[in-house]
Symmetry: C2
Subunit: 370 residues, 2 copies
């Protein structure tokens, strides 16, 4: 199963809004065939693996099939995978985690069992969840899984006092940052970052078959129409300010303006994420400044922190998070370190919100009764 989960990472950049899934067909400890989910609308992992088995002339009857997610039981853009599996008649299907999609939710397992196929699940659910936190989040919380990406000095500064921030970290850290952009559905930033750095926010340093949607939180709709983030693939602007003319001009350039409620003087970020959840967004890579990151943190909407740290010392510069002053060390956000990695001269720290993560783990740790 861990091999299947590893294989499913091959399509991290590809399948959104569908989950990344891999399927292995095994008989007598021999791998007969493997498959991974293709681009949305294309075949799922199970069908890919069954096709490969067929091409190779293997009979799937009596085999064990490993899948990293419960096979779908409904007609989406493709026919249900359980039908294909039932037809192939493996002896056993081992599944990493149930599909939290209410359209599936245990029905996939039920259909297999009815067909006399032995089902074993969940197996390595938490490891499988690592590959698809966004999909599970959208299905169970109606909002995407959100990480905040920062590049900081040892002393936690994202820029000098004069605003200079390019480049705190080196090329390997920047390329790694593009990997995280590439796996996301949306790259989100704030107006201040657009004004300060005029970033493109596209994926360039890693190869990808798909560019995420770029998005800007721009409460007063002040974004200059010359901003580079408005060029190329679709961009979303979340604002509280109506300006039909500007919106119309931008719409002609694939830029969608979404008017949102205001909260605490800025776009209501919970509403933005809920809107994204309804619009098939699984994972959001936030790459803004202290203001946007602090606001997401304070609103309890940050699920992970992705921190690239350079071996530099900046002294009094610009901090990572603009948040209200804390009075006690106990006022904490329940983050946990999950990984430290070296990237050239820099390091990458990943932290996860323990409560948010445990809720997702819980949702995939039990097989619903059907």
């Amino acid at each position: 199963m861990l091999l299947a989960i590893e294989l499913s990472r091959e399509v991290l950049y590809l399948t959104a809004p569908n989950p990344r899934v891999a399927c292995l067909i095994v008989k007598d400890n021999q791998l007969l065939a493997a498959g991974v989910t293709q681009q949305a609308g294309g075949p799922h992992a199970e069908v890919m693996a069954l096709r490969q088995a067929q091409t190779r002339g293997h009979n799937v009857a009596g085999t064990t099939i490993y899948v990293t997610l419960e096979p779908c039981s409904h007609y989406g853009r493709t026919p249900p995978c359980v039908d294909a599996l039932v037809q192939a008649q493996p002896a056993r299907v081992v599944v990493a985690m149930p599909d939290p999609n209410p359209l599936v939710a245990g029905q996939g397992f039920g259909r297999l069992r009815e067909a006399g196929i032995q089902v074993q699940a969940p197996i390595c659910a938490e490891q499988a969840l690592e590959v698809n936190p966004g999909f599970v989040s959208r299905m169970t919380r109606n909002r995407p899984w959100v990480w905040l990406k920062s590049a900081v000095s040892i002393d936690g500064q994202i820029a000098l006092a004069n605003g200079l921030s390019q480049w705190i970290t080196g090329p390997q850290a920047r390329a790694d940052g593009h990997h995280w952009r590439a796996r996301s559905s949306v790259v989100l930033t704030g107006l201040r970052t657009v004004l300060a750095d005029d970033p493109q926010m596209t994926v360039r340093d890693v190869e990808t078959p798909r560019q995420p949607i770029r998005a800007v939180v721009d409460t007063r709709f002040e974004i200059p129409e010359t901003a580079r983030i408005l060029n190329g693939s679709p961009t979303w602007i979340f604002t509280c300010h109506h300006d039909a003319d500007k919106a119309q001009r931008l719409a002609e350039r694939q830029v969608q303006t979404v008017v949102m409620p205001e909260r605490d003087g800025r776009v209501d970020l919970a509403a933005v994420l809920q809107w994204m959840g309804h619009n098939d967004v699984n994972e959001v890579h936030v790459e803004g400044g202290a203001s946007l990151h602090g606001a997401l943190l304070e609103a309890g909407l940050a699920d992970e922190l992705l921190v690239y740290m350079a071996p530099k010392i900046l002294g009094a510069g610009r901090g990572m998070f603009t948040i209200p002053m804390r009075q006690s060390l106990a006022d904490q956000d329940d983050f946990r370190f999950v990984e430290q990695a070296a990237l050239g001269d820099d390091i990458r720290l990943r932290l996860r919100h323990q409560g948010h993560w445990q809720a997702l783990v819980h949702s995939v740790s039990q097989v619903p009764q059907t």
Copy 2:
């Protein structure tokens, strides 16, 4: 040799001001005996290993002896180890690094070669240096090896804006901090930390046969005589202010007051470290606040950073280093990450000043010609 270097770590807390050294006696790939340097005044590693070989009834003639530092050739508190080795007549002596002590500096090797013993050195010098940076620093730079210990939040704050800092990190990180105190010759702090936290700065969370000397940078000699750091084992106060009465009262309590030149409105820190170098201090563990750490950094006197990071976010609190405002990201201090480790909920980051470290490496990478 790597085994010997590992063994030498057993006496990290013990041997100061002597270096930590281990010695292995090997014949036909069998370990006959091992020894490590004892408390200052006690036998060195070579003598301990030779004694063990004798006790076990092994003849050392014709063996290979591994030592992590060039055997001493001078009479210090103990007779020269080369004499004991020459008498034992091993076939070969393999040494990790030459002794930078000008009283030895290649003469140990010379004496062994004269006695017809084959000498191989240096072997794994940089790894051996990791165990004794302070000793090599004192011998080659006339000042100790200095690390700055901080406990910080993810966003680089050592305290809340209200000054609250106990405890940012958890018990495992604190115990690890005591390990670093225990290996040091001196634990150095600043007056502000004494006034704010009234710390003891002793080693309590790990077992140690020796307490380091505590020291306080106190430019105006303002330390309250009730401060806990003045109790127990010896303490040094570095000040620019003469107060014979106060100094006399403190002297009766094993507290030595050292009057130092002033520089930039505070005790001249370079002079403090030079004084320490002359007073047999190998390693200094600095555990102060942003002011002392910033000043050491700015003076180019910080060799390592030992950063314990908690998964907390403090927002606008107190930063790690008070340093002049930087204008460019190129104004950098040449630190490199050398290690990341998880300690309970926290992590430990270690950074080393590349230039300072390379100078030490250079000094032990060549065998002086005698």
